[in-house]
């Protein structure tokens, strides 16, 4: 039976082994998944915001995935500790929707596009290839990553869609 690790908002989970899966639900937040398929190690963070501000020096254990920059550092160090090779680590991501109308034009939130952009930038700076993504649009997504197949399955109950990336 598959072991499913659920990642809560702002959370981060690292799993190992063929039968492991990571799962979360995102709206404007982004589910970023890093994985080394050869040694079967994967991490998923439910990123809420692009960057940790100076007024928050500490990260509580349950919120290691809250900020993109912080989450990336925790994911990489955790995976490497478990035996992942940084040169083999790849990424997939989903989410970052602009749920409300006029978000980008009015600056109402626009947090989804900002999260996407921040994560892409971090991956680029660290030479981690972003293999595939399903981002943007205006709906929430269930995101499931299987370490066995290396595939990310994205479903929307509202839109009744399923996408595999």
């Amino acid at each position: 039976m598959n072991r499913i690790a659920e990642v809560k908002m702002g959370g981060l989970e690292i799993v190992t082994g063929d039968m492991s899966e990571l799962k979360t639900f995102v709206g404007s937040c982004v589910a970023i998944c890093l994985f080394d398929i050869e040694v079967k190690i994967a991490a998923m963070a439910h990123v809420v915001l692009p960057k940790k501000t100076n007024c928050k020096p500490h990260t509580v254990e349950e919120e290691r995935g809250k900020y993109a920059d912080d989450a990336f550092a925790h994911m990489m160090s955790g995976m490497i500790k478990l035996g992942a090779n940084p040169k083999r680590i790849q990424a997939k991501m989903a989410g970052g929707a602009a749920i409300f109308s006029h978000e980008s034009e009015t600056g109402l939130f626009n947090v989804g596009p900002r999260n996407i952009s921040a994560i892409q930038q971090i991956l680029k700076e660290n030479d981690i290839p972003l293999i595939s993504k399903d981002t943007g649009a205006n709906f929430g997504r269930w995101v499931k990553f299987s370490l066995n197949s290396g595939k990310m399955i994205i479903t929307s109950n509202l839109k009744k869609t399923e996408k595999i990336i």
Partner: protein, 208 residues
């Protein structure tokens, strides 16, 4: 006998609980004097309201605030973000299937074949006007100046809607104070719900 730690914790809880009660009392007066008259005029009927709860919640654990029955329900919602002396978020929402009757009532009985732009626009307007009633009440009472964003409309699960709103507060605080209010038409039974979200540090200004 209580230890010193227990006493301190009890004192803190009592004080905190009193602060939330005071805040609820203040909001209640704003709604009664400003929001309800606006809503009565907009909908052309007397509306009742029920301030269900005011509570503080950890942003990343917001799901605990949503009753299980509403977690995956699809809602039509309008969000207005108010910034300035205070940062306040107001989310107005109805069940998706209750949106059309509400929009028709707002449009004075205009029959809507489907949910079109006029309906979305009318719902956005109601969110705008009712949020302004609260912003004005705060200004009258505390002198705090705020400006409101263009209302954003969305149809999504309450979970998804709230995730966006919580993320918006995540930059400045780890927790939020949320007040839940339900409005109901006395004769039509039409329902509208409101969540008023504040930074806990800022909400203290409303009870000072």
């Amino acid at each position: 006998m209580l230890s010193l730690d227990d006493k301190l914790r009890d004192d803190m809880l009592k004080r905190y609980s009193n602060e939330l009660q005071k805040l609820e009392h203040v909001l209640d007066s704003y709604i009664a004097t400003k929001t309800i008259p606006s809503l009565n005029a907009l909908l052309g009927e007397k509306m009742a309201y029920f301030l269900k709860k005011t509570q503080e919640a950890v942003i990343t654990n917001f799901e605990s605030l949503i009753p299980d029955s509403e977690k995956t329900s699809v809602m039509s919602a309008v969000y207005v973000k108010c910034e300035g002396d205070l940062h306040i978020g107001v989310l107005w929402y109805v069940l998706e299937e209750e949106l059309k009757p509400l929009a028709e009532k707002l449009l004075e009985g205009y029959h809507l074949n489907e949910f079109d732009k006029i309906a979305i626009s009318s719902i956005s307007e109601i969110g705008n006007i009712l949020t302004a009633s609260i912003v004005n009440a705060i200004y009258d009472d505390k002198g705090c100046k705020m400006w409101a964003s263009v209302p954003g409309f969305a149809t999504e699960s309450l979970n998804t809607l709230l995730e966006v709103v919580m993320a918006d507060f995540g930059d400045q605080s780890d927790t939020v104070v949320i007040s839940t209010v339900e409005f109901r038409g006395i004769s039509s039974g039409i329902r509208l719900q409101m969540l008023l979200i504040q930074d806990p540090k800022e909400s203290k200004r409303l009870i000072s």
